[in-house]
Amino acid sequence: MNTFEFVRPATVAEAVAAASAPGAAYHAAGTNLLDLMKGGVARPTRLVDVNRLPGLDRIEHAPDGGVRVGALVRNADLAHDPAFSRRFPAVAEALLSGASAQLRNAATVGGNLLQRTRCAYFYDTASACNKRQPGAGCDARGGENRLHAVLGWSGSCIATHPSDFCVPLVALGATVEIEGKAGWRDVPLVDFHRLPGLAPERETVLETGDLVVAVRLPAEAARFAAHARYLKVRERTSYAFAVVSAAAALRMEGDRIAEARIALGGVALKPWRAHDAEAALAGARPDAATFRRAAEAALAGAEPSGDNAFKIELARRIVARALAMAFAGTPERVPALPASPFAPVPGASIHV
């Protein structure tokens, strides 16, 4: 690890000023950043510690049903906030399906949005990686790439974004609040992460010094609470990143779907909102054929980036299954194995 200057600003304005210097990085829990620094992947020369900034650790429930979650709220505290998990159960389930209890006790909302890809070639400083070193090339292409992207990738980068939390957030229309040198602004989460294109080193819309201060969910997102699930296929039962995941949320009116929300994880360099699949569900009957049609629409543009063609069909089945689970109803309590495909679903195939 290279050495660095450690600064502890007392206000957001001080933090933004301190982080505007070249080589500076924000530090919250450090659960991803410290790991990257130990491996020499991230080499900040100044860490701006945001842990003591006032007012960023609150969950504020609005009377209209929306919520504002401060960037320093820890993953575990958000998932176990009773009002939050009741209104946004798929978000709580996604949070509890990620990492381990120790990491969830430390990791923050802001840090989750800004965590880096787990592409092994990004982590290995002996490999070529356009994200780590622009112009170096991409050893993932032609390498071990069965877990890489099938949507939105480019010749420069085929990595995926690893977040679970962001998947239901993007499905439910979350907004990111940012403080920067030019003041405060809102960015829809769906526009926050960038696809790789020719510049995979630019991962988000954040500019130098910008600080994520909160994430908001609108009141309308709570209307899906009765039919909202997150489903995540992992290569082991627990404590693993998604091979493919999906958030599915339905608002029912009688025996028809009034409105649907779908997003996928593990398939692209950003949480992937599937608007076409949502449109295919509006006004439809909630049956297996409808769910499969939506799943086809969600993956319509997918292409393998290597030895990962299986992920496309896997993702279709995960979308269809997540929809069936959402239709069956949000469970009273987050299941023992959150988001696990091993839990039985009434009326659904056991095959993923």
């Binding site: 660095f4 450690f6 530090h27 510690d49 575990a76 176990h80 209890a101 120790q102 430390a106």
Partner: protein, 164 residues
């Protein structure tokens, strides 16, 4: 660059001068305070051997920069047993249920179990205990005994009205 931090470790106050900001809480405990019960396994947040209670919450000490935890209260495996050497119920249950073989992961497992019981989300469901303990790897494969030990200790602590 000098940084001075205050920590309460196992009930005792410490002031530690950090000449280097790179020091993790794990390295501080082991190298500066000579509390070597907290183990360095992967040092990357993957194995759980370094689990301690940081302000009452189980955390990977290897991924916590000491400089960011000025004023924190830390409980390590060394601080768990009673003053007279009486084992904590979780420690006693690990012995009773043969919940270890080589013992390297055990301090982290025990601290994680204490944290899990304090969180109170697992109840008596072995599946929830296994899921809640999934951040602690045991390469000897003592998982069956670990789950039994956690459930047993939790039951005994509930009977005595203890939270941790």
């Amino acid at each position: 660059m000098g940084l001075s931090i205050a920590l309460t470790v196992n009930g005792a106050p410490h002031r530690v001068e950090l000449e280097d900001p790179r020091v993790t809480l794990l390295d501080l405990l082991r190298e500066r305070l000579h509390l070597t019960g907290t183990k360095k396994g992967c040092d990357r947040g993957q194995c759980g051997a370094c689990t301690v209670l940081l302000d009452g919450r189980r955390t990977n000490a290897c991924l916590a920069l000491a400089a960011a935890h000025d004023g924190a209260d830390v409980l390590t495996i060394e601080g768990l047993a009673g003053g007279g050497g009486e084992l904590h119920p979780v420690q006693a249950a690990f012995i009773a249920h043969d919940a270890l073989q080589c013992g390297f992961c055990t301090p982290g497992q025990v601290m994680s179990a204490v944290g899990l019981i304090a969180e109170g989300h697992a109840g008596s469901d072995p599946e929830r205990v296994r899921e809640g303990m999934s951040g602690n790897l045991c390469r000897c494969g003592a998982y069956a005994g670990i789950t039994e030990a956690v459930l047993d200790a939790q039951g005994r602590m509930a009977g005595r009205g203890e939270a941790a």
